[in-house]
Symmetry: C2
Subunit: 103 residues, 2 copies
């Protein structure tokens, strides 16, 4: 699932949609915003977000209401944070080593 999350986030339009939805649920029309692309293009991006598990959709009359599936995004975030912890630790080791040498 981490796989498809990163793929979903690899397009600027999709990231902007996620940014919008992080602030709360919205309809397709609302997330469409002012990207200079057609409705079918947005529709496809939403499909990618949905199939990757990043977004869910609830149909309400003629509106489709979109929400973030935060659990999915949490997984991807955790991967990044975990890597950061690892390379930060490494950096500290190097730092310590340099301090050691200065003495």
């Amino acid at each position: 699932m981490v796989n498809s999350s990163f793929k979903a986030l690899s397009h600027p339009i999709r990231r902007q949609i996620v940014e919008r939805l992080a602030a709360g649920p919205a309809t397709v029309g609302e997330v469409t915003g002012d990207f200079g692309v057609s409705k079918p293009a947005i529709s496809k991006h939403l499909k990618v977000l949905e199939e990757s598990g990043v977004v869910t959709r609830v149909i309400d009359g003629r509106n489709h209401v979109l929400s973030l599936r935060t659990e999915t995004l949490d997984e991807a975030t955790d991967w990044m944070v975990r890597q950061r912890e690892i390379w930060t630790r490494l950096f500290d080791v190097v730092e310590d080593h340099l301090k050691e040498e200065q003495r």
Copy 2:
């Protein structure tokens, strides 16, 4: 730059390379590992990682030594963490609202 970082991380092989490099610098041969793909394929993945600013390369004799450019990855990590903070806050608001209603 956040753009290309996510794109760089959108392929499982490239993420595994990043995982390897998070633990410390390594040569091309070392990161190649046991993905079932040819050397040219790895070479291309490394090019993507390098051009996206995620990885740097220092040539030492006939070995190319790769390292993570952590600043670049920090940007992407920060984007994710920032979004998480936003949707977490939203979640708390909903939580509070539900508690409010239970009373």
